[in-house]
Symmetry: C2
DNA sequence: GTAGGGCTTCCAGTCACTGGAAGGTCAAGG
DNA sequence: CCTTGACCTTCCAGTGACTGGAAGCCCTAC
């Protein structure tokens, strides 16, 4: 299977697949003409990578996960620890975003949004928040 | 005020302030010895930038916001539209992260996490999800 | 005069791709 | 046999928003 088909089947752009080879995540065979040739095993790995990336794991996490996946002697505790670490980061990120969202929407609600220059959003950003300091 | 003090007062790393000058967000004066010299006005801008970045606005958003801030003829509607656009992106991002979080925590909960190799997390990533397809 | 801390510039690296140029390969149609 | 077009190859550069580090100047204190 050449890269176009591999791309279609895995949902990963061809560029991304080449990049994954570049950084050593996969090493597809080559046909005589130099084209990459993806076996079923490689397709499984691409699908694995696509899912892991889709869950927000970093490339280095994916490298580790792939090696755990291929290591039949792994301890599931190792995988679980990684996943939990990643979950913690996600939870933290969500909290952060929610805090930003809350602050900004408060400012947005205060802004009448017409053609006059008076703007509580800019005032908030400038630190002129006369009410309770939300920033 | 030189860059060290400006950094302390604004909470922005000196490197970041230099970077902001590089990309034309601020243009502090220079003293005879070549050191940057930050006026009160510049410090206000740095504080503004720090808050805007803290709310997740991109650098280009910040550039626009700063110019609106300095334009006393602005329409608050323009600011509000930007802020709303940004809020939408944040909301979207939060949804995305929550979806990842939900999927991954489901897998984590299924994983016993001991020294045996059997691991629902890896199985899920590999697409061997025998239950309802959560991935 | 020398030690330290702070300042300057410039270059390179981060992360995970993504775009584009220049060129080789292959199957179909004329 | 030639061309056309879709595919593939490699390599280089750019993204966003910094961040780290090297090499060297400036200023103050001892």
């Amino acid at each position: 299977m050449n890269i176009g088909e591999a791309s279609t089947n895995s949902g990963l752009p061809a560029k991304t697949i080449r990049y994954y080879e570049d950084i050593g995540l996969i090493s597809p065979d080559r046909t005589d003409n130099g084209y990459r040739d993806f076996s079923e095993t490689h397709m499984h790995k691409l699908a694995f990578l696509s899912r892991a990336r889709g869950l927000g794991f970093t490339i280095e996490d994916c490298r580790t996960l792939l090696s755990l996946y291929e290591d039949t002697d792994r301890a599931s505790a190792d995988v679980k620890a990684m996943a939990r670490g990643h979950l913690d980061k996600m939870t933290h990120k969500i909290q952060e975003l929610k805090a930003m969202q809350a602050t900004l929407s408060e400012l947005v609600n205060k802004c009448h949004g017409d053609d006059r220059p008076d703007c509580p959003i800019l005032q908030g950003l400038a630190g002129e928040n006369t009410a309770k300091g939300i920033l």
